[in-house]
């Protein structure tokens, strides 16, 4: 068969290279539990005034709440003023937006088949104390979640990808690291009857 058609590359499980102290696993466990249950508390815990969040969705058959906030630069155009308006910066704005998004339920992180998580450290972030350079952690997550869309009042499922950039916190923060960047990519909704 391979000789007849081009074939997708092999697909391996999660590749976790987070520096040996399990920051990624610990963070993601808190993150997705709190994202489903208490988004304002999540924003206060891991986000600060400089954290950025935006979401990204393609064209959908049935427009959803997400469309109003999508910062998909392919569809809105990279010179559109929305590229600025839909970049949510700071924990307060992020929490306000999250409150308007549909309620979600993510699968448990104890089910490894439900998640692909790739992460690694990288150099040359700005040190939040203003001195020198800091290491960052890039985490990309692929999974799905159940959602209840307020417009449709029907449960559905979405595949998603979420890319986090973590870096050291400013002095006085609740955790030694913070979310610098959080980019959520959503795929088409699959309705459940």
């Amino acid at each position: 068969l391979k000789a007849w058609f081009p074939t997708p590359l092999p697909y391996l499980p999660s590749n976790l290279r987070d520096g040996g102290n399990n920051v990624a696993s610990t963070f993601l466990r808190s993150f997705f539990t709190m994202y489903d249950q208490d988004r304002p508390a999540l924003a206060r815990q891991f986000y600060d005034d400089e954290s950025a969040f935006s979401l990204n969705i393609g064209t959908e058959l049935n427009p959803s709440t997400y469309q109003n906030y999508s910062r998909n630069l392919e569809t809105i155009g990279f010179r559109n003023p929305s590229a600025h308006q839909r970049l949510f910066t700071g924990s307060n704005l992020i929490a306000e937006l999250w409150a308007r998004l549909p309620a979600t339920r993510h699968p448990s992180l104890d089910l490894p088949d439900e998640w692909q998580i790739d992460c690694h450290t990288f150099p040359s972030l700005a040190d939040p104390t203003g001195q020198g350079l800091a290491m960052g952690l890039a985490i990309t997550v692929y999974s799905r979640f159940e959602e209840m869309d307020p417009a449709q009042q029907l449960p559905g499922t979405r595949k998603f990808s979420r890319s986090f950039i973590l870096g050291p916190s400013k002095p006085g923060a609740p955790h030694p690291y913070r979310v610098i960047s959080d980019e959520l990519t959503l795929r088409d909704r699959i309705s459940q009857q």
């Binding site: 007849w4 074939t7 697909y11 990204n56 392919e74 970049l87 910066t89 040359s124």
Partner: protein
């Protein structure tokens, strides 16, 4: 307003991401090299001792961009297929997004660039770029062509300024921002 959400940085990062995404997937769809888009082998970074780009393809760590090109080549193999409209692998980008993650990027930067550009000038930007779409296998050149199989794909890149070209407005070759991190998944 933080430097990362400063108007100039937002505008410049969106433009840089758009140029990067258009270039990258055009090269791949045409079976051309994408190696020069990675930090590896670029003079200013090599001199300053930057590590090679971190590339992870469907969970597999790949040590060089050339090795990723070999995987792309392997993915394109269909020696028995006589119909040219069933031989191709075609990436269709459906969306992309970008955040500035360090507006004051300075690794390997020439002193004159540091002197000339403040963190709100939209030049010394380290960016996180996410891309998603569909990849079609056993298909033709054009959108809407029949295909044998398809997958959703997601790419996450971290880009940094290419100091060798960024201050040369006349330079037509070479990428303005280079990949230091690339995460690919297609499922």
């Amino acid at each position: 307003m933080s430097a990362n959400s400063h108007e100039t940085n937002v505008r410049c990062s969106c433009e840089a991401a758009k140029n990067f995404v258009d270039w990258y997937y055009r090269q791949i769809n045409e079976g051309k090299s994408i190696s020069q888009g990675y930090v590896n082998g670029h003079a200013a970074y090599e001199r300053a001792g930057h590590p090679p780009a971190d590339i992870c393809i469907n969970g597999l760590v790949v040590s060089t961009p050339q090795e990723w090109e070999k995987l792309l080549e392997q993915q394109r193999q269909a020696p028995k297929q006589p119909d040219p409209n069933k031989r191709r692998v075609r990436y269709e980008v459906e969306g992309h997004n970008v955040h500035v993650i360090n507006a004051d990027y300075r690794f390997g930067a020439p002193q004159k660039v540091l002197d000339l550009h403040s963190p709100t000038d939209g030049v010394r930007m380290m960016m996180s770029v996410t891309v998603f779409g569909t990849v079609y296998f056993g298909t033709g050149k054009n959108k809407g062509d029949e295909y044998w199989e398809k997958r959703d794909f997601y790419d996450s890149f971290i880009l940094v300024p290419n100091w060798d070209v960024i201050e040369k407005p006349g330079v037509r070759h070479g990428r303005k921002y280079l990949i230091i991190s690339h995460n690919y998944r297609a499922n």
